[in-house]
């Protein structure tokens, strides 16, 4: 899927968060968005996912305007610290995946994905008994169930240990190799070792830079 963003600006009330941001991503690209807390990374993702209504600028997915775009199943999304999910009510990993796979993904397909992520044995465990690393893998499996073209991960390594982090980056690398477009948000500096193709830096003062690895493409300045 081609993602095209033209002169995007966004404000919460009178507080401008994003100013004149433009970028283009093609199928199979791997974008890292870096920036400190509060630099507008998550706000940008919310614009991209249609959660924040964009009033200034345009967003196109395969040349379709975001306001007319309907096929959101082309996106897989793993949110920051899974805060939108109510995991205090008992539900097993298997049940969660079953209610999340609406495109008739078979049970064996779901189990295969769990095995691939190294968490096959927790299929009957209650979500609230899992560790941060296990929970994250479950949510990645959930995001992958409907075979998305684009996978968006918001601060995925914030609450996991080093070993899980390495496993996580390797998994993302594999998915990228399969042709899935990856958008990864991070406030850490450990992204340099990743095989990303594009980098969007958000500096927190409304300035941004978007570059293809090694080649600077555009600069958005206040």
């Amino acid at each position: 899927m081609q993602i095209n963003i033209n002169n995007l600006s966004f404000a919460y009330g009178t507080k401008t968060i994003i100013s004149n941001l433009s970028l283009t991503l093609n199928s199979g690209d791997y974008l890292v968005i870096r920036g400190k807390n509060g630099s507008g990374k998550s706000t940008f993702i919310k614009c991209l996912l249609g959660v924040n209504q964009v009033k200034t600028g345009m967003i196109f997915f395969d040349k379709i305007d975001i306001n007319s775009f309907k096929t959101w199943t082309k996106f897989g999304y793993v949110s920051q610290s899974f805060d939108s999910f109510n995991y205090e009510f008992p539900i097993t990993v298997g049940e969660l995946l079953s209610i999340s796979s609406l495109k008739k993904t078979s049970e064996s397909e779901r189990l295969r994905l769990l095995e691939k992520m190294g968490i096959f044995e927790i299929v009957n465990q209650n979500i609230n008994s899992l560790s941060g690393g296990q929970l994250q893998r479950v949510f990645i499996v959930r995001a992958m169930l409907n075979n998305p073209e684009v996978l968006i991960l918001d601060e995925p390594t914030a609450s996991i240990d080093k070993q899980n982090k390495e496993f996580f980056y390797k998994t993302i690398e594999d998915l990228h190799q399969q042709g899935i477009t990856i958008i990864l948000i991070t406030h850490n500096d450990d992204f340099e070792s990743l095989n990303y193709t594009h980098l969007l830096s958000m500096y927190g003062d409304l300035t941004t830079s978007f570059e293809e690895r090694g080649v600077e493409l555009s600069e958005g300045v206040l």
Binding site: L49, G50, V51, W72, T73, F75, G76, Y77, S79, S84, F85, N86, F89, P90, I91, T92, E95, L96, S98, I99, S100, S101, L102, K103, N124, N126, R142, A143, N146, P148
Partner: protein, 290 residues
């Protein structure tokens, strides 16, 4: 005493009606209760009940004016107002996204105020007691059919859309990426809940309906290890409460709704205490091994 109750249950018509209505209530209330609890909207049934009461009071008021053609059964307007209340909650919930409980307070207060006004205007405040506390022992054949139809409709909705409603309940913001039209399912859920609450009102009462939905689920959550097991345990607790509540109501002549809720709470307390003791013993055992 207990044997007389059992034989009367099947020999007396009113007892049989109470049993059928009670069994259906015992399934419907915790079934919808699980969704309500997952979404952290435990007060919603209470709120919808109050708004349903507005419909009932308006209906009684219109009857007192001589308009009886459409409003002979106050329940119908109760259902309509409950749906209006549900839509109002949804409206306020969106404008106070991080303070969802505010929406309940607004709607419940409006419901209570309007009900008081119309009950007073209709000069039938005497009937208020029945609506507030419900009475399962006095339900009619007509009511039993109505609750049965409601149960069938709810069952069908769950067979076809249970997955989607559950996915939206657990994680509203991610449901869009699963291809679910979140707005439609919110709408379906709130209408279904509004209808069920107003239908159950006659048996359970405005003040007790919320407890019948939430308390068995609260107890089920203490023991459940999955969504399915929690739901089944909640329904078992709910049915036990209905059965023994009916027994208490029939034998010592106390209000049925109050008896059912009291037993519900007794089960919840019992489970909580037992669970605490078992957990303490387990920790002590582990400490010993170490």
């Amino acid at each position: 005493m207990f044997l007389t109750f059992i034989t009367d249950l099947f020999q007396q018509d009113f007892m049989l009606r109470a049993l059928i209505a009670g069994v259906l209530l015992g399934v419907l209330a915790p079934l919808l209760g699980t969704f309500v609890v997952v979404r952290r909207l435990s007060f919603i049934a209470d709120t919808l009940g109050h708004f349903s009461l507005v419909g009932i009071s308006v209906s009684l008021f219109l009857t007192s004016l001589g308009v009886t053609i459409f409003f002979e059964k106050p329940l119908y307007l109760g259902i309509v107002f409950s749906i209006v209340g549900g839509l109002l909650i949804e409206f306020f919930r969106r404008s106070y996204n991080n303070f969802q409980e505010i929406s309940m307070v607004i709607v419940i207060s409006l419901g209570a105020a309007l009900s008081a006004i119309f009950f007073s205007l209709s000069k039938k405040t005497g009937s208020l007691y029945n609506y507030l506390f419900g009475s399962i022992l006095t339900v009619t054949d007509y009511y039993v059919v109505l609750i049965l139809i409601t149960a069938i409709i709810v069952a069908l909705l769950f067979i076809f859309f249970g997955k989607q409603i559950l996915a939206v309940s657990f994680d509203e913001s991610s449901a869009k990426f699963l291809g679910i039209n979140v707005n439609i399912f919110q709408f379906v859920f709130i209408i279904m809940l509004s209808v069920v609450v107003s239908v159950l009102l006659e048996a359970a009462g405005v003040l007790l309906i919320s407890s019948m939905m939430v308390i068995p689920v609260a107890a089920g959550m203490k023991l459940g290890w999955s969504y399915r097991s929690t739901l089944i345990i909640s329904i078992v607790f709910s049915e036990l409460s209905v059965f023994f509540g009916l027994w208490a109501a029939y034998t010592i002549n106390i209000p049925s709704g109050a008896a059912i809720v009291s037993i519900n709470i007794f089960i919840l307390l019992f489970i909580t205490v037992i669970k605490k003791i078992v957990t303490k013993r387990r920790i002590a055992k582990l400490d010993k091994i170490q």
